[in-house]
């Protein structure tokens, strides 16, 4: 980076991270549980620092908190990361810190007639977190383009409905609200699939041609410039938490339950965490596909040449995509 920071400059004594709800944020929960940031900071010679964890129910508020300087690290889906990178370019210069995972997203349905995307009719309603803009919506658009031909990415949009994950699950399972399909993420999609009437139509892995990053962490450039060691500590802690999860899935599942006060069974969580489709890694996977698609449909003003455009250099060594 162009700004060189003098090591003598005092760094902040407190770092503030924001997380959302869901199994995808398990690495952050591990970091919190085991005080990984505190430990990493000590190793880097920062002494005793304070870590504050804020929880948000949605990405919009979290971004507001980041932009107003109330949190230092935000986390969320790849879509929002690309959006905030695009919009803050030349101003706050928000970029990704690292990926949190690679996770599939499933489009489930309770309509037995629907086997592929082409089977959806006007009688179907597809619930997803937010029409047109959420990761699920983007993925659906990409799938639609693959199914119906170039340029026809928005043919299914008119049947989509915005709904928060749990509401979508309730709507799909109760079968009374007109919702016949739900594009969602773990653990909700697995909860749905426990019902024999529900089956999977597509997975985001099919659309993207392999494992893809669902969640990531991002931060403002100014924080990284002013607090290089603290930033490094967070990245190190992230790496450490991935290692710990991959080393002991059972323990990780326990942490999840403890941190989220979840009433789900340990077995169920452990099964999800150990699912071969799901991996916890800081390496960005298949994010460029989103970046290209979103640029193509006009959702991004900037064309990314590489995933490195929207991530900070600390992870350039990885084989991201």
């Amino acid at each position: 980076s162009s700004v060189t920071t003098t090591p003598a400059r005092a760094e902040v004594k407190e770092v503030r991270l924001a997380q959302q709800f869901g199994i995808g944020y398990l690495p952050l929960q591990m970091m919190r549980e085991y005080k990984l940031i505190e430990k990493a900071a000590k190793k880097l010679g920062l002494g005793d620092i304070k870590v504050t964890w804020a929880r948000f129910s949605g990405g919009a508020a979290m971004n507001d908190a980041l932009l107003s300087g109330n949190v230092d690290f935000a986390s969320g889906g790849v879509g929002p990361l690309l959006t905030i990178w695009d919009k803050s370019k030349g101003n706050l210069n928000v970029k990704g810190v690292a990926a949190l995972n690679a996770m599939p997203l499933y489009l489930n349905t309770n309509n037995p007639k629907v086997k592929t995307l082409k089977d959806f009719t006007a009688n179907d309603k597809i619930a997803l977190p937010s029409v047109k803009v959420s990761v699920q919506a983007r993925t659906l658009q990409m799938a639609a383009e693959q199914a119906f031909g170039p340029g026809k990415y928005d043919v299914l949009d008119k049947w989509t409905v915005s709904m928060k994950h749990p509401d979508g699950v309730a709507a799909l399972l109760s079968g009374k609200s007109g919702i016949t399909a739900h594009f969602t993420s773990p653990p909700f999609m697995y909860q749905e699939l426990r019902d024999p009437k529900v089956h999977k139509v597509i997975s985001s892995y099919d659309v993207l041609g392999g494992p893809s990053t669902f969640n990531a962490v991002w931060a403002r450039a100014v924080f990284r410039n002013d607090n290089p060691k603290m930033y490094k500590a967070v990245v190190n802690a992230l790496k450490k938490s991935m290692e710990m999860i991959n080393a002991d899935k059972n323990a990780a599942a326990k942490v999840y339950i403890k941190q989220t006060h979840s009433k789900l069974s340990l077995k169920f969580i452990e099964k999800i965490v150990s699912d071969p489709e799901i991996s916890f890694t800081i390496t960005p996977r298949n994010t460029m596909k989103y970046a290209k698609f979103m640029y193509k449909v006009g959702a991004l003003n900037t064309k990314a040449k590489s995933w490195k455009d929207y991530f900070f250099p600390e992870i350039y060594g990885l084989s991201g995509s």
Binding site: L67, P80, T83, S88, L92, S162, A170, S177, I179, A299
Partner: protein
């Protein structure tokens, strides 16, 4: 005994009787107004001034803040508004919202009138209103989501349902309190003419409690808006047909904050319009004219 202090006695004056004055210039008598008074007498002018002031403060705050992703300047917002009206479909979206809003508002007002009529007619009705209001009024719209979905499915039905929830309770509270405050003499006068039930409520109570009802209508109008904007997000709308709430949400997600503010600006403009073009004329033609409010 000491002498008392002398008591004041008014002087004696001559009596007189006199003829009536010429009243020709009666209509001309007016207290002269200073220029300043004349100018400040124009309500519109004063209000526009307030708006200009607010806008200036906004601009003065936002420009040095330099954080367009959080708080865009007025000029940026104005441009976004202009753009959204011209190229986007802000007007159409506002119209979509207003249509649903009016349905929900009307339904809420009607139900509220029924409930409050019951409440003044019977003691059980009174208990019902008081209990229901204190129970349901504090509930956020999110609580109604499952019921709305079960009963009305997706779409306007559910939206109207939550709008009723937004309108019904505050309006009922204000109306009911207004009804209870009607003076006994006025009540007795009405009942003396044989009015009972709905005619009594309609001809006496509603009229006599009109100031309270009007403030209830204003409050619930505002809350209908708040709820609508929020509900459009929760209930979503099948894409394409969203209203203002959706416009705001979409732009927020895309971090087009100037457009978000433009959407909110539309809400404000509609609010100002409704106040100045609907509520104020109603007020002038009723409670002001009748001397029930000053």
């Amino acid at each position: 005994m000491p002498e008392k202090p002398q008591k004041i006695t008014p002087p004696l004056r001559p009596e007189f009787e006199r003829g009536l004055l010429d009243t020709a210039d009666l209509g001309q008598i007016r207290r002269p107004l200073s220029k300043w008074e004349k100018i400040t007498n124009i309500t519109l002018l004063r209000r526009v001034l307030i708006l200009v002031l607010l806008v200036s403060v906004w601009q003065a705050y936002a420009v040095p803040l330099k954080n367009p992703l959080m708080f865009p300047t007025f000029t940026n917002t104005a441009y976004a508004f202009y753009d959204a009206v011209l190229n986007g479909s802000l007007l159409l979206k506002a119209w979509v919202s207003i249509k649903v809003l009016l349905m929900g508002y009307a339904a809420g007002v009607i139900i509220s009138m029924i409930l409050t009529t019951l409440a003044v007619a019977t003691r059980l009705g009174n208990d019902l209103l008081v209990t229901l209001t204190s129970m349901f009024n504090p509930l956020p719209a999110i609580a109604l989501l499952p019921l709305a979905l079960l009963w009305f499915g997706l779409g306007n039905g559910s939206m109207v349902f939550v709008l009723i929830h937004a309108v019904l309770w505050p309006l009922s509270l204000a109306t009911h309190s207004g009804f209870l405050s009607v003076s006994n003499t006025m009540r007795m006068a009405g009942r003396n003419y044989g009015l009972t039930g709905i005619r009594y409520v309609g001809n006496i109570l509603i009229m006599a409690a009109f100031p309270s009802i009007l403030s209830g209508l204003k409050i619930s109008w505002a809350f209908a808006w708040r709820t609508l904007i929020a509900a459009e997000l929760v209930f979503g709308v099948s894409s394409g047909s969203g209203g203002l709430g959706w416009f705001i949400y979409e732009n927020k997600n895309e971090l087009e904050i100037a457009y978000v503010f433009a959407g909110l600006g539309a809400v404000i403009i509609i609010g100002l319009g409704v106040e100045n073009l609907i509520f104020r004329p109603i007020e002038n033609a009723t409670v002001r004219k009748w001397g029930m409010q000053n």
